[in-house]
């Protein structure tokens, strides 16, 4: 089995995350515990090999914090909406399956977009076409073509937000050009 070597820099986010999980589980962030956690996380990352996640090399915290807050607000809105639909509409709810072609072809960004739209109002990823980075979404409570368009725009704007946070420079240029137009 041929393995691609992963540089430590590429693996660092995974290792840091594993150390945080270790500390959180022990509820102990003393240096000794963290050091032992670091040793264990290196061992785990070596033993249970996974293909590296390709990061774009940029991360903009200034966009990330408002995005996280808006995301939390949308999760609340989604839950309220679903509660209302479950009680008021129930079996008579109308749905749609919508295809949205994303700008980005990075696995990480497509996955992140899929996760975010699964958690916000009325959409769920049914199928992913990785070659064209198209997401097929199942959307709750959509009764017109207008609703389909609104959903597509919303998904694309979420992707734009994620690109601003951690997309590559080329993708960022595309998003900036679109915003200017």
């Amino acid at each position: 089995m041929s393995r691609r070597r992963i540089s430590l820099r590429q693996e660092l986010p995974l290792l840091v995350w594993l150390v945080i999980v270790w500390g959180a589980l022990w509820q102990d962030f003393s240096p000794g515990n963290l050091l032992f956690g670091a040793l264990l996380s290196v061992a785990v990352a070596r033993l249970f090999y996974l293909p590296p996640v390709e990061l774009s090399g940029r991360f903009n915290i200034l966009y990330a914090i408002p995005f996280a807050l808006v995301f939390l607000a949308k999760v609340v809105a989604a839950s309220m909406q679903l509660l209302y639909l479950a009680v008021a509409r129930g079996p008579r709810v109308k749905n749609a399956v919508v295809a949205v072609t994303l700008r980005s072809h990075q696995d990480l960004l497509v996955t992140a977009t899929g996760h975010v739209i699964s958690l916000i109002p009325g959409s769920l990823v049914v199928e992913v076409d990785r070659s064209t980075s198209t997401l097929y979404l199942h959307a709750l409570n959509i009764s017109s073509q207008q609703g389909v368009e609104n959903l597509k725009n919303e998904v694309l704007s979420i992707e734009a937000g994620l690109i601003r946070i951690m997309g590559t420079r080329e993708e960022l240029e595309i998003v900036r050009a679109e915003a200017a137009a």
Binding site: A24, V75, A78, S79, H115, L119, L124, V126, L140, V148
Partner: protein
């Protein structure tokens, strides 16, 4: 915890009580949705969204009640794992459900995946045919 006269403890208690009630209501909403929605895909909506918020609120009220900072990281890690795994499991169930046709087509206003699936199925059938012959 001894009750103090500043009233801060009381406010923390009120806040965590509100979180607990709202969180439990969200989980109840998920259960109602599971019962009342017509097909598998719309039920997956009910199974994913409200309980993520419900769990968040319940974890927050645990954090408020424990009054020690080192429970927060483990609660946060719990919630992040929930955020990461719930969409994946919903996607897997939804995908399998769509492929095995566990959905009510008459309730869909539009379906942009059906044509793609049929094209892929036709292509696979053609390739099977030429492979056998």
């Amino acid at each position: 915890m001894s009750p103090d006269s500043t009233g801060l403890d009381a406010w923390v208690d009120v806040l965590s009580a509100v979180f607990m009630i709202v969180g439990a209501t969200m989980s109840l909403g998920a259960a109602i949705g599971l019962l009342r929605f017509p097909d598998l895909l719309s039920r997956m909506h009910a199974a994913t969204k409200p309980q993520v918020l419900g769990l968040f609120l319940l974890l927050a009220s645990i954090g408020l009640q424990m009054r020690t900072w080192w429970v927060w990281p483990v609660l946060l890690v719990t919630w992040i794992f929930q955020l990461l795994t719930v969409p994946v499991s919903a996607h897997m169930v939804g995908r399998a459900g769509y492929r095995t046709k566990h959905l009510h087509r008459e309730l869909l206003t539009s379906d942009e995946l059906e044509a793609v699936v049929q094209k892929a199925a036709a292509k696979a059938a053609r390739e099977d045919g030429s492979g056998d012959g």
